[in-house]
Structure formats: structure tokens, C-alpha cells
Subunit: 312 residues, 2 copies
């Protein structure tokens, strides 16, 4: 049994296809096939059921794949140990970011980071919180930026910043004259929300008084952008709430419709999250330092009340 064989097995398990797995492993298909066979021979057990299309993993195969993942991950840590010793910060690093943070936060730190750590090849993927978590577990992501607290067993959370919610309330709205917002004034039924799957949607649902039930309205909104929500809001379809960073780039006319919450403002906690096994911890730490330092300049410290991003 070799680590290479285990890696090949993992590739096949992932792509359910020997040819593709071989490609992704940068070897030819026969090479990969034979190594997988060799391992199966050595263990005298079938890992894959090749009679099914696409290829299926046998029952034992599942256990072996899970263990192989483990072993390969642990093996990769050897390099990490060495890197840490040498103070080397480099290599590939895959970072996931939730959609509502991506467009505002990424421009703030990306340039700084790649300048400071030119040897890190940063790969950034936009995904929902749910997928971020899955990919941190399966090793496809080295870290992610998401709204927290998530309280997941295998994940470590390090808060980066607390981002207050800001109301966008057009003049004609019933709250148009209010000076400051308070959560009790909100009615979930006249707030425009992002589509299902965005955790910011759940943030807001959690913020609104649960007693006011969420009734299915005569129109269904399927937007993933605040841009759309603001425009609809201007059309008189309701107010909306934005994360603070998303309010910075609005034009002056739109900024006039912004209303802050009374202190302590409801806010979301945005954290760098990663697997508690702390692989690539040096890069993760570097990332944490860069992001939190750039954010410190953008969000003034204030008293906030953290709203959970989890749907109930």
C-alpha cells in the first residue's frame, strides 16, 4: 500500500470515473487503473464496483475511502510541519466566501494579501455556507469566510469583524420618517429578502420578531443581489436590510435612504472558519491577520448584538 495508491483511490471515488480520475491525478488511465487494482489485490477486496455505470463504491470501499482521506490528509501535514519550521508561507490555498461578503470584502484584502505573500497561490470560490462547511470537511477548501456562529464540531471559527445591519428605507415607507431603527419596528412581511440559501436572509429572519408570522406573499422574490433589492425597494415594494459594508458604495441619493439601528445595532459576525485539524495554519493565520487589519479601518468599533445566521 502506498500513499499514491490511496490518492488514486480518492480520485476515483471523487470523480466516479477512472479516466477522469487519472487526468486529475496527472497520470494515464492504465497507470491509475493498475495501481487501484494492485491495492485491491493486496487487500484482497473490491473497493469499486465496476459493473455499475457510473462506477459505484462498495460498502467496504466507503470505509477505505474515508480512511484513505484521513491518511492522505495526515501525510500532507508533514509538509506543513516543514513549512512551519521554515516559516515558509506559500503553496496553493483555497478560500471559500459566502456571496454576501464576497463583493465587498474581497477587494479590500486581496491585493494586500497577494503582495504580502506572493508565494501563496490563492484560489477563491463563492459558495453558500452549507457548501463551505461540506468542502471544509472534505478538504476541498482550506478555509472560508462565513457568517457565524455555526457551532460545528470539526470547524474552528475566528471572528474577523462584526458587521452591523443597516436599513434601506425609502421615504414613502411607513418607517420613512424614523430617525433610527429598532428591531421591534421591523415586520418581516415588508422586508425584501435575498433568496433562500443566503445566510444573510436567515440573519434577518432571526432578527425579526418571531411572533409576527412570515406569511407567503403575493409575490416571490428570487434575487441574489442587494442591487435588485434596493431597486425594488425604491419602487415601493418594501424596505430592505443591508450589511454595513454593502452600504459604502451606494450613490449619495441612495445613501439618504439608509437608517442605522439604535445601539446596540444588530449585526452579523463574519469569521474565518477552517477545519480544526489546522492544516495550512500558517497561511490561514496570515490571511486572518491581513483581513482583520484592513477591516479594522473600514468598520468603526461599536456596540452590536450578534444575530445567528442559522435557519431555525
Amino acid at each position: 500500500m502506498t500513499i499514491t495508491q490511496l490518492q488514486y483511490v480518492l480520485a476515483v471515488a471523487e470523480y466516479q470515473n477512472f479516466t477522469l480520475a487519472a487526468e486529475k491525478s496527472f497520470v494515464t488511465q492504465p497507470t491509475l487503473s493498475m495501481q487501484v487494482q494492485k491495492l485491491e489485490d493486496e487487500l484482497d477486496i473490491l473497493i469499486f464496483d465496476r459493473s455499475k455505470k457510473p462506477i459505484a463504491i462498495t460498502e467496504v470501499g466507503m470505509k477505505i475511502v474515508a480512511q484513505a482521506k484521513n491518511i492522505v490528509n495526515e501525510a500532507n501535514r508533514i509538509q506543513d510541519i516543514v513549512d512551519q519550521e521554515k516559516g515558509f508561507i506559500g503553496g496553493e490555498f483555497t478560500l471559500g466566501i459566502i456571496p454576501t461578503v464576497m463583493p465587498t470584502l474581497l477587494p479590500m484584502f486581496l491585493k494586500t494579501f497577494i503582495n504580502k505573500y506572493p508565494k501563496v497561490n490563492l484560489i477563491i470560490k463563492e459558495k453558500s455556507t452549507e457548501n463551505l462547511i461540506r468542502n471544509i470537511q472534505d478538504g476541498h477548501l482550506d478555509a472560508a469566510i462565513a457568517a457565524t456562529p455555526l457551532e460545528i464540531e470539526f470547524i474552528k471559527e475566528r471572528p474577523l469583524y462584526y458587521e452591523p445591519f443597516v436599513g434601506y428605507v425609502p421615504a414613502q415607507h411607513r418607517l420613512g420618517n424614523a430617525n433610527q431603527l429598532i428591531p421591534d419596528d421591523l415586520d418581516i412581511n415588508d422586508i425584501l429578502l435575498l433568496r433562500d440559501g443566503h445566510c444573510f436572509r436567515d440573519n434577518i429572519i432571526n432578527l425579526c420578531d418571531a411572533s409576527k408570522s412570515f406569511k407567503d406573499d403575493h409575490f416571490q422574490l428570487q434575487s441574489g443581489s442587494f442591487e435588485t433589492l434596493i431597486n425594488l425597494s425604491n419602487e415601493g415594494l418594501g424596505m430592505t436590510l443591508l450589511p454595513f459594508l454593502n452600504t459604502l458604495e451606494l450613490d449619495d441619493r441612495k445613501k439618504q435612504n439608509l437608517k442605522n439601528f439604535q445601539s446596540p445595532s444588530p449585526a452579523r459576525e463574519v469569521s474565518l472558519i477552517y477545519h480544526k485539524s489546522e492544516l495550512k495554519i500558517q497561511i490561514t493565520n496570515a490571511l486572518y491577520d491581513v483581513i482583520s487589519s484592513v477591516v479594522r479601518g473600514a468598520i468603526a468599533f461599536q456596540d452590536v448584538k450578534i444575530i445567528s445566521p442559522l435557519s431555525k
Copy 2:
């Protein structure tokens, strides 16, 4: 990096000598030397400091060795997974036993077990509870027999039997005339105890009324054998307590000094414990079945009160 290389590194780390490590790895010394060098080259770091005699492990080397141990253990588990699937009962199985159980229990089941499962190569090690737990975690032990409950997160406990405590009270002792013992009669200060580290010592300390404080006496006993305690007891230095199985082989004269506790007798729970990952569960189950069946014949069922083996 290959698993073989890691195994070679582990061998060198263990024997602090390339030649011996090579022997133990069943390869020639150049083979091992070159593979270790190859790994060092690949990682571009020195694992061993060959300038020192005997060979020393570098600082990073320590971390790498620890991680290598991890990886090699995890890799061995693949075979376990396969064995489990096949219902194969065989291979190496390392069992730890606490000292106060070892001499009485082992002869009772060992012969039966090795006859019934000739393909299992049973390796038995006597260790303190503390070390048993550590070695179950690090994979050096597949299972162990210890006094429970321990309530450790990663360990499963399966009670084998409940072993009542029996008093050994010489005639001249203040309790020499009592018919049955009751815990309240005990005074921790006139009971001879095993030396620190034995969990049976803690069993007894927990049994004795905590209100009677444990005062440092004018003599300190450092014995690990009940034999010694009994002899000292006969010399008038106090009474002592024995686990039931240890009373079976006493000569008749000594048996006359034994006194049972009033029902429900205080007892220790002796369990088979193992990692909750349940590797080698077939063998573990086989062991459990064999032991519990032989013990059933030796200890009559009775009402007992379980005393914790943990020192407070």
C-alpha cells in the same frame, strides 16, 4: 513521500541507530539510509542529526516522527477495515491489563482464548490505567482490561464482571471479631494500600469515608503486590482489602482472616475497554465473550455497589 519511508524513519527514531533500524525493518542498512535521505531531501530538512552519537532527532524531526507514527497507524487501519469486513479473526492483537487484574484473570481465559482463536497473536502488556488509556488512544493497544467507569470520551467500556472487595483482617485487628464488614467501619488510616498508581488503591480511598482524613503515617508503603500487604497485615500493621479473585488462591490459614462486606458489597467494575472507533472489533468481541464466560463461573452473582476507580 512513501509509507515505507515513514516506517524507516520511525525505526531509526526508535532504535537511534540506522543499522539496527534496518535490521528490524528487514532491509539492508544502505536501503534504509538512502530512503531516509530521500525523504529528507524531498522535505529539504534534516530529520536526524547524524553528527551526534547515538544519533539524535532534530527538533522538526520530533514533529515529523510524531506525525509519521500517526500516518503509519492510520495506514494499518486499512487492513483492519478489510479484516472486519471479512469477519476474519486473526492477526496481532495487543491487550493491556492493569496489574491487580493480570495475575488472577489472565490464567483464567488465556488458554481458552488462544485455543479458540489460534490465528490471533495475542500480545499482553501490564500497564497502569493511565498508560492503558494513553496507549488505546495512540494505537499501541487494541483493547485493555481496567477498572471502570472511566468515562473517557474516545473509549468504550464493556463491563466484564463486578468484583467484590474482601477484607483481610487479622484476628488481633480491632475489627477482628466482626462477622461482616461495613464501609463505615473502615478507617483509611489502618488499611494497607498498594502504591500510588494502582487504581485499586483509589477504589479503596473512594470507599472509605472521606470525612476521616487521610493522614500521612509514620511509615510509607511502596508495595505493588497484595502478597506483601497480607504479610504486613499479619505483622499487625493494619488490615487490607483484596479484590475477590485475589482471595481464591490464598492458603487456608489466610482464608480464615477474610471477611466479606455486608450486602451490597462494595465492588469494582472490571471492563474491557477499547477505542470507540471499534477497530478489530471482531477480536475484541471474541475476547469479551471468552472472558465473560469464564468469569461467570468464578464469581457468583450478588448485589454490589460499584466504587469509582478514579482518584479525586
